[in-house]
C-alpha cells in the first residue's frame, strides 16, 4: 500500500479514536470545569464500562443484544459507583483539590484491583455486535468502527443538548462560572456536583462499552484513556467543551498518523510532548479560561 492509502487509513483510525476520546475526555473536562477537581480514577470508569460490557456479552446470547444491554446497563452501574464515591469520599473532603487527587488515586487502585480479583488478569475479547466490512479500493475497513464513531457523535450531541437546553445544564454552566453566585440563585450545588461526577463516569463507561469489541477488556486498560484524556483536556482547556472536541481530533489524528507510520509508543510520546509545548506557552490550555 502506498503513502496515500496509508494516510487515509491513518486518518480513519484517527477519526474513530478521536470520537471515542472526545466522549471520554468530555467526562473528565466536565468534572473539572464544574467541580474544579481532577478525577484520576476516570480511566477506571472507562475500564469498568468495558469489563461490564464483556460480562454482559457473556450473559445475553447475541452479541448485538449484549451490546445494547451493556450500552444502557454499564453506564448506569458505573454512574452508581461514581455517586457512591462522591457521597462517601469526595463530599467529606469538601472537594479540596489536592485531597481529591489523592483520594481518586486510592479509588483507582481499589477499582483496578477489585476487577483483577473478580474478573481475572486475562484480557478477554468481545465479539462485535455488528459485522460488516466497508471495502475501499485499497483495503477493507471494519464497519463496526464506523458505528462506534457514529454512536460517539450521538453521545456528544446528547451531552451538548443537555448542557445547553436543559435546566441541569444551566445549573452546571452556572456552577462552573461562579459557584457562590449560582448558589445564591438557588442552584443546589451538592446535588449538581454529584450528578456531574456521575455523568462524567457514565460518559467514560459508555466509551468503554463502545471500544471493547475493538480492544479487549483488561483490568489495566484504564491508564491509556486516562492519559489521553488528560492530554486532550489540557490542550483543549480545562472546562471548555468546544476545546475538548477540537483537541480530541488533534490528538486522535496525530495518534493515528504516528501509530500507522511509526509506532504506537512513539505516538504517545509525541502526544505527551505536545501537551508540554502547549502548557509552556499557555498554562491555561488553548481554549481554557484564564483562572482569576
Amino acid at each position: 500500500m502506498s503513502f496515500g492509502p496509508h494516510l487515509f487509513l491513518a486518518l480513519l483510525e484517527g477519526t474513530v479514536t478521536a470520537f471515542v476520546l472526545a466522549v471520554t475526555a468530555l467526562g473528565l473536562s466536565l468534572v473539572f470545569g464544574v467541580m474544579r477537581i481532577v478525577n484520576v480514577a476516570h480511566g477506571e470508569f472507562f475500564m469498568l464500562g468495558a469489563v461490564l460490557a464483556s460480562l454482559c456479552a457473556g450473559l445475553v446470547g447475541s452479541p448485538l443484544g449484549g451490546f445494547l444491554f451493556a450500552l444502557v446497563a454499564a453506564p448506569l452501574a458505573v454512574g452508581a459507583i461514581a455517586l457512591a464515591a462522591d457521597w462517601l469520599v469526595l463530599r467529606r473532603l469538601d472537594y479540596h483539590p489536592e485531597g481529591t487527587i489523592v483520594a481518586t488515586i486510592g479509588l483507582l487502585y481499589i477499582l483496578q484491583q477489585a476487577v483483577l480479583t473478580f474478573y481475572g488478569p486475562d484480557a478477554r475479547p468481545v465479539t462485535a455486535p455488528v459485522y460488516f466490512r466497508i471495502e475501499f479500493p485499497w483495503f477493507g475497513y471494519s464497519g463496526y468502527k464506523i458505528v462506534v464513531a457514529a454512536i460517539s457523535a450521538l453521545l456528544l450531541a446528547a451531552t451538548w443538548w443537555l448542557l445547553t437546553r436543559t435546566r441541569l445544564g444551566l445549573y452546571m454552566r452556572a456552577a462552573q462560572q461562579d459557584l457562590e453566585m449560582a448558589q445564591a440563585f438557588g442552584v443546589p450545588a451538592r446535588r449538581v456536583y454529584a450528578i456531574v461526577f456521575a455523568l462524567g463516569a457514565m460518559l467514560a463507561a459508555a466509551a468503554g462499552v463502545l471500544v471493547v469489541p475493538i480492544q479487549q477488556a483488561h483490568y489495566l486498560m484504564g491508564l491509556d484513556p486516562l492519559l489521553l484524556s488528560f492530554i486532550v483536556v489540557i490542550i483543549g482547556g480545562l472546562g471548555s467543551v468546544k476545546g475538548t472536541l477540537v483537541a480530541a481530533f488533534v490528538v486522535g489524528w496525530s495518534d493515528g498518523i504516528v501509530s500507522v507510520f511509526f509506532s504506537p509508543t512513539l505516538a504517545k510520546i509525541v502526544a505527551t510532548l505536545l501537551v508540554a509545548a502547549v502548557l509552556v506557552v499557555r498554562p491555561s490550555g488553548l481554549f481554557g479560561e484564564e483562572r482569576a
Binding site: F32, V38, V89, R92, L93, P97, E98, G99, I101, V102, A103, I105, G106, L107, L108, Y109, I110, L111, Q112, Q113, A114, L116, T117, P121, L223, L227, F230, I231, I234, L238, S263, T265, L266, K268, I269, T272, L273, V275, A276, L279, V280, P283, S284
Partner: protein, 320 residues
Amino acid sequence: MSDRALGRVFGLHVAVIAVLFAAQFVLPPYDHTNVARILVLSVYALGYNVLLGYTGLMSLGHAMFFAAGMYGAGLPVYYLGFGAPGALAMGILCGIVVAGLFGLMALRTSGVAFLIVSLMFAQAFYLASLYFNEITLGDQGLILSGKLAALEFGGTQVGFHEPALKYNGALLLFAVCLLGTLVLRLSPVGRVLIAIRENEERTRLLGYDSFRYKLLSLVVSGALAAAAGATYALLFSYVGSTFASILFSIYPLLWSLLGGIGTILGPLLGTAFMFYLVDLASGWTSAYLFVVGVALLVLVLWFPRGILGTVRARWLPWLP
C-alpha cells in the same frame, strides 16, 4: 531556633542513624536486605517530601527522577564499565539535569496543571525507556551483578554482593541525605520554601523570587530521588522500566503522607511501614495494590497529617 533546641533536633536525627547502624548486627538476614532497600527508598521519599511537604508542590512524576538516576548510573556500568563512585555521580548529575529542565518548563504552571504536566513528562520518560528497548531492555531490565567492580577499603576488597556493603552503603546515603535535608529545612532557604508553601504571593512581595526557589527545591528533590535511584541500581544490581512507571511515582506520595508530610523523619517511617504492609499483602493475594488504594483513602480522609505530623501537632512542636 536556640542552640539548645538545635542540639536536640540534631541529636534526635543522629540517634536515629546510630540506631539504624546498630540494627544491622541484630537483624535476621531477610530483614537485613529489606532495611537496606527501605533506607534507599526512603531517600526517594525524602526528596519527594522536600517538594511537597516543604514547598507545597505536588508532583506525580517523581519516578522520572528516580529512573534518571537509576539509568544514569546503571547504563554506564553495564555498557561502559564505570566504577561505582563514577556511576553514582553520573546518576545524580542526570537527576539534576532532568529536574532542572523539567522545572524550567513546568514551573510556569502550578497546582493541578503542574501535577498533570509532571505525570505527562514522567509517562513520556517511561515510554521512552520502553521504546529504546535495545539499550534498556525495557521491563525485563539489566542485571548489573558481576559487572560492578568491587570497592577497595584500605587493602581489602568488598564486593557488591556483600550484605554489609548493601546495608552500610544504603545507610550512608540515608544519613547524608537525612542530615542534608535537615540543614536545608533549618536554613534561611528552608524558611523561604515553607513561606512559598503557605503564601506564595506574600513571599514574593517580601523580597523573594519564588520561581527561583521553587526551581531550587525541584532540583534538590530530583537530585535526592536520583541519588536513591542510582544507589538502588548499584546496590541491588537491577535497572528496569518498572521504576519509571506511574505507580512508582505514587509510592513516595503515599510514603510521605503516611509518615507525615512536612516532617524530616516522616518519609522513613512511611516507607518502612508500607514496604512491610505490601510485602505482607503480596503473600496473600496478587491484588495487593488494593492495600495501596485503601491506605491512600484512609490517610486522606482521616489521617492527613500522617504519623509524625500527628505526633508533632500533639506532643512535639519542635520536630522539624
